[in-house]
């Protein structure tokens, strides 16, 4: 099996997992899928060979999406050991400790940096470890890390929520976004349009469609651009050619806002519209179509 076909097996698994976790809150669902994807990456790097058998073995050890979802839902509905009457005491203790900890942090800032207001250093382009050392040296003690696919190499900080030189207040949490590398376009040919849409959504990629009349009763993907395995930044567009026996509702143009022009033109034409193109420089929120 090729590398991209192996990626496809993993993408299918993560898609199914994401679907199975639908009853959970959005943040928890995303967190679980992300962390299991990280687990898969780590496990994959440890495999003696990159083969279908090894990958399927890895996914089997992780467990079926339904089992994981079942345990996640059971956990959410009745987390054991978290019941009532102790809470006021725990809350009081937590508040007192929080005050003590914040006071401690403030003392640490003053001791370390000689001033009580640290300012945000430039950490863009640094490896995570170096970025964190930089924050500590600047006297910043609270930060969070999130991971996103981008064209930057994996492990590099490419976005933060604080401007370079801005004052960081004590207790303010700075967020560093680390690249997890680009997403690879998955194998979509043969899937239904809905499955392909879901697959791409899970990867953070957007969908453009070119449709034609064909023998399939359910709209089925027969081609894709760019090719399988192409590495793309999150929010990039993937165009799929879809074959379907049913005709679209006449008079309803498909939504093509923000698509690259060539995909938008192809999609509109394939739905039976003739397309006129006008180029203007305009702020994004001013875009529309007639």
């Amino acid at each position: 099996m090729t590398m991209t076909e192996l990626d496809g097996i993993i993408d299918t698994y993560l898609s199914r997992l994401d679907t199975a976790l639908a009853p959970l809150s959005t943040s928890r669902r995303a967190q679980i899928v992300t962390e299991i994807a990280e687990h898969i990456n780590e496990g994959r790097a440890n495999l003696p060979t990159q083969s279908e058998t090894e990958i399927r073995g890895l996914l089997e050890r992780i467990g079926s999406p339904n089992d994981i979802a079942e345990s996640a839902i059971a956990d959410e509905v009745a987390p054991l050991g978290r019941r009532g009457t102790r809470r006021p005491l725990v809350a009081t203790v937590a508040i007192v400790l929080a005050i003590v900890l914040v006071a401690g942090d403030l003392v640490a800032y003053w001791a370390e940096s000689g001033s009580s207001t640290p300012s945000m250093p430039n950490v863009i382009g640094l490896q995570v470890k170096a970025a964190q050392r930089s924050l500590i040296a600047a006297g910043i003690a609270h930060w969070s890390l999130t991971s996103e696919s981008s064209l930057e190499p994996a492990g590099i900080v490419f976005l933060t929520n604080a401007k370079v030189g801005a004052t960081v207040k004590p207790g303010q949490s700075v967020n560093l976004v680390i690249s997890s590398g680009p997403s690879a376009v998955p194998e979509l040919v043969g899937l239904t349009q809905d499955e392909a849409a879901h697959r791409l959504r899970v990867l953070g990629l957007r969908l453009a469609i070119v449709r034609e009349v064909g023998p399939h009763t359910a709209a089925t993907v027969i081609g894709e651009q760019p090719g399988v395995g192409t590495r793309l930044e999150k929010q990039s567009w993937v165009q799929i050619a879809v074959s379907s026996a049913t005709r679209p509702t006449p008079g309803t143009p498909p939504q093509v806002l923000l698509m690259p022009a060539k995909f938008a033109i192809a999609e509109l034409r394939s739905f039976g519209f003739s397309v006129g193109v006008r180029y203007t420089t305009t702020p994004l929120h001013g875009l529309g179509r007639r």
């Binding site: 997992l17 928890r28 967190q31 679980i32 962390e35 299991i36 990280e38 687990h39 990456n41 780590e42 496990g43 790097a45 440890n46 050890r61 992780i62 467990g63 079926s64 089992d67 994981i68 345990s71 996640a72 059971a74 956990d75 959410e76 987390p79 054991l80 050991g81 978290r82 019941r83 009532g84 102790r86 937590a94 400790l97 900890l101 490896q127 995570v128 470890k129 964190q132 890390l145 994996a154 492990g155 680390i178 997890s180």
Partner: protein, 127 residues
């Protein structure tokens, strides 16, 4: 934290042994995770492997992640990133102060619960 857990287990018992054991497993796993993290900070892959190697506690590695996200949301653990010599950067988990306190409370309660059940299971009656 421990008392609440053990008390709620009694309420959930409907007399079926497998059901009770599965509830107990689910309740205990959380504190096993905390205990492992007390030994050392660990990344997800490492932690789940250790749990499955311990035998019988987890059916599959993936089922640990919902638990991890919940105890993180509850402030018992936090995560941080570290690069690895080969492969992708690793998300490490570590206990917070509240996590240590929860673990210690459970330890005390678990010991008395376990000793009492063991004694009665032995069939010797209360010594």
């Amino acid at each position: 934290m421990g008392t609440g857990l053990l008390a709620s287990m009694w309420y959930m018992v409907s007399g079926s042994a497998p059901k009770v054991l599965s509830q107990m497993r689910r309740g205990a796993i959380e504190f096993c995770v905390l205990a492992l993290l007390q030994e050392s900070d660990m990344y997800g892959f490492e932690l789940t492997r250790k749990l499955t190697d311990a035998g019988g506690l987890v059916t599959s590695e993936g089922t640990v992640y919902p638990l991890l996200t919940r105890i993180r949301q509850e402030g018992l653990v936090e995560t941080f990133w570290e690069e690895s010599p080969q492969g992708p950067p690793r998300r490490y988990y570590r206990l917070t102060g509240e996590g240590v306190r929860a673990l210690e409370a459970f330890r005390v309660q678990w010991k008395s619960f376990r000793d009492a059940v063991d004694q009665l299971m032995e069939g010797g009656g209360v010594q």
